[in-house]
């Protein structure tokens, strides 16, 4: 069965046009907000604002927050371990893109 939902859907670019509150980011990642709070306290995510109720996360953190949540839950890593894995994954990404540029 096919259906087109109409008339048409307004889409916004998450990375440039959106900010998340703590509950919004929790919903977007499919996890409890306490898990995100622990990632903030570990320095994995850096929101604007002092108190969790005032926190605003840049839209660009979404992929990182989702990856962090998956690593925490699926690999049963601690928060510090998750932070370390994320940094290593970032480094691998950087090296891979340098390698691509090097190879042309």
């Amino acid at each position: 069965m096919n259906f087109v939902e109409g008339p048409f859907t307004h889409a916004v670019i998450v990375e440039t046009d959106l900010q998340f509150s703590l509950p919004e980011l929790g919903r977007a990642c499919g996890v409890e907000v306490t898990l995100l709070e622990s990632l903030v306290h570990e320095g994995v995510l850096t929101p604007h604002g002092d108190h969790p109720t005032q926190w605003r996360f840049e839209g660009s953190v979404l992929p990182r927050a989702r990856t962090a949540a998956r690593l925490l839950l699926d690999l049963e890593l601690g928060v510090a371990g998750t932070a370390l894995v994320l940094e290593l994954l970032d480094e691998i990404d950087t090296l891979k893109s340098q390698l691509r540029r090097f190879r042309g």
Partner: protein
């Protein structure tokens, strides 16, 4: 449906202790987790490992699974015996496992509810779940922006409760200048709300289909531009296809192979817009006939002192 041997999936004996189960899962999860794995079918493999662990780590579920396994007796085709689980009341936190689709086998044993989202209790009128999907668009869709119809595959239950893939088509405005790897949010297009709660949102991870001429790096667009040796040596004005249509490009005299010629602001649109780069490569005309070979010989005699490998020479 096939009977799933969860013990075998984790490489364990049926007598495995909870510690052994945890160890086996963690080892396989590190090997197959899609975020860290280089295995080609990591996602499918991880799904199976996670499902096996979700059953075996929970004492109640494991006991139920063992009972079924004993009755089942090793045949491949599996039907759960009617009312088989009436003796069990699962108290565990239903959805505390990874957020993945479960097999039909899992759902037949532990029900659809157990295969839901991770996280604890949901209020009666909670908002719907946010959904995520990856979609591939053309580079031109980003350069021009505008409406595109996007097809998504959506797992849906039919009247018999079987899981089927339904094709869902969405008319989406692609914002001009969206980059590869960025996400779009479509408000209210995710999972339905519970009670009077609002529907969740749909997030689309955008990727560009490979283009036959252009390469994209962030906001910048690259094209390989072959030039004749005399164009590179003497300079030339050449016509180059760019995303906005053809452009005239001045190749400076004495351009080496690999030189980047930049057209500022002609990459992906945005504030600031990206740049467009033509990467020169020198194309040799074939020395197919006598005249062509004579031309190459004349070239050689005109450049007798030229050594293309001067940089390779070792100092004595």
């Amino acid at each position: 449906m096939d009977f799933k041997d969860y013990y075998a999936r984790l490489g364990l004996e049926k007598s495995a202790t909870p510690d052994e189960i945890k160890r086996a899962y963690r080892k396989l999860a590190r090997k197959y987790h899609p975020d860290v794995s280089k295995e080609p079918d990591a996602e499918a493999q991880f799904k199976e490992v996670a499902e096996a662990y979700e059953v075996l780590k929970d004492a109640e579920r494991r006991a139920a699974y063992d009972t079924v396994g004993t009755q089942h007796g090793g045949q491949q085709d599996f039907r759960p015996p009617p009312g088989w689980n009436s003796g069990f009341e699962f108290s565990g936190n239903a959805g505390d496992g990874p957020d993945l689709d479960r097999s039909d086998f899992f759902e037949a044993l532990f029900g659809r509810a157990a295969a839901g989202m991770r996280g604890a209790h949901r209020p009666a009128h909670a908002g719907g779940d946010d959904h995520h999907a990856k979609v591939t668009i053309d580079l031109m869709d980003s350069c021009r922006g505008g409406r595109r119809t996007i097809s998504l595959q959506l797992p849906v239950r039919d009247a018999q409760g079987n899981l089927q893939l339904q094709s869902r088509q969405l008319d989406v405005n692609i914002p001009k200048g969206i980059r590869d790897g960025q996400h779009l949010r479509l408000k209210g297009m995710g999972g339905p709300g519970h009670g009077t709660g609002p529907a969740g949102d749909l997030y689309l991870e955008i990727h560009f289909a490979p283009h036959k001429l252009f390469r994209v790096d962030g906001r910048d667009i690259y094209i390989d531009l072959p030039v004749a040796p005399w164009e590179a040596a003497l300079g030339a004005s050449v016509t180059v296809p760019a995303p906005d249509g053809n452009v005239q490009l001045a190749v400076p005299a004495g351009s080496p192979s690999g030189r980047n010629l930049r057209l500022r602001g002609k990459g992906l649109p945005g504030t600031p817009p990206g740049d467009f780069y033509a990467v020169l490569s020198i194309a040799l005309p074939p020395a197919g006939d006598d005249a062509a070979q004579a031309a190459y010989r004349a070239l050689a005699s005109s450049f007798e002192g030229f050594n293309p490998r001067a940089a390779l020479e070792m100092t004595p």
